[in-house]
């Protein structure tokens, strides 16, 4: 299938972009942070894609009539709430301290 080939090529692009960071982190331990940041960035993008697919799957599966603007507003509210709850964690993950 053509789509699968395209996805494999895109995955190869991701690997090619991370590869120098892996080499750097092998030579220099201080560069591990860059590799970690890149991996977290990719995982965050991937999770966002999976969540979007799940949202579309849910919409198709349940097939309920809905106001699309209200759904967007609700999702935005949940995002803000989630960010508020996770904020202390972000603060600590930045390496900041009192």
């Amino acid at each position: 299938m053509v789509q699968v080939q395209g996805i494999l090529l895109i995955c190869a692009a991701m690997v090619a972009s991370i590869f120098p960071l892996v080499l750097d982190s092998i030579h220099n331990k201080l560069q591990v942070n860059n590799l970690l940041a890149a991996l977290i960035y990719i995982l965050a993008s991937a999770s966002q894609g999976v969540i979007t697919l799940y949202k579309e799957k849910s919409i198709i599966e349940y097939a309920l009539y809905m106001d699309i603007h209200e759904m967007s507003a609700r999702l935005f509210q949940f995002q803000v709430l989630f960010a508020l709850l996770l904020m202390p964690l972000f603060y600590v993950l930045q390496g900041k301290s009192c």
Binding site: V2, L9, A13, A16, E56, I60, I68, P88
Partner: protein, 206 residues
């Protein structure tokens, strides 16, 4: 997208700079950048997991002050170096805050978001999957170029191709990515019927 994964560190710097200059545009962003020495309500007193990690904790007492600072910064008022609102204290270094340009940055952000959404909407309505993938290719290439230009003029002073900033792997990656998107968009995807049409209830009481 995936094209600038290598510069995730640089990208994070860009995002960090944008959030800090823009405002500490929202109170939330300001909160993330805050420091406090006041142990009044810090989370380490309430959550043992934070207390066990030594000095790491969350300066909850600085929350109101930083929220006020952030809200004022949105309208262009830079925070004073030393502030003390009653029992609430904050001690983060606000000397680098540049709130005068916060309104401009927020305005540009909103305008660019609206333009982007309009462009996506236009492409989705007027063309098929093949054109959409071409547009994604162009967008990724543009963002790649723009980030490199930003890297050249703002981030790194000693720019050289295949040197410190840009490497041959970036070009391999971007070429693979563009070709992959091109291959992905060769065949039209089957249309999925999504029922999202909502007809509001009629309020006729006659």
């Amino acid at each position: 997208m995936f094209c600038k994964v290598r510069v995730a560190d640089d990208t994070l710097v860009i995002i960090y700079k944008l959030t800090v200059t823009s405002a500490s545009a929202s109170p939330l962003c300001t909160l993330l950048g805050s420091d406090s020495t006041s142990p009044l309500l810090s989370l380490e007193e309430y959550i043992p997991a934070f207390a066990s990690s030594g000095s790491v904790g969350y300066p909850m007492s600085a929350f109101p002050v930083n929220a006020i600072d952030g809200a004022l910064c949105v309208v262009g008022v830079s925070p004073e170096p030393a502030r003390d609102y009653g029992i609430f204290h904050t001690h983060y270094d606000s000397s680098g805050a540049n709130c005068g340009s916060a309104v401009f940055v927020i305005f540009v952000y909103i305008v660019s978001t609206v333009v982007l959404l309009q462009a996506i909407n236009h492409v989705l309505e007027s063309s098929g999957d093949k054109q959409l993938s071409r547009c994604i290719c162009v967008a990724i290439l543009c963002s790649f170029v723009v980030l490199e230009v930003y890297d050249y003029f703002v981030l790194s002073s000693d720019f050289s191709f295949f040197g410190k900033s840009m490497r041959v792997f970036d070009f391999i990656s971007i070429a693979l990515l563009l070709y992959g998107i091109e291959v992905y968009g060769r065949e039209d995807q089957p249309d999925a019927e999504v029922v999202t049409n909502y007809s509001p209830p009629t309020t006729s009481r006659a």
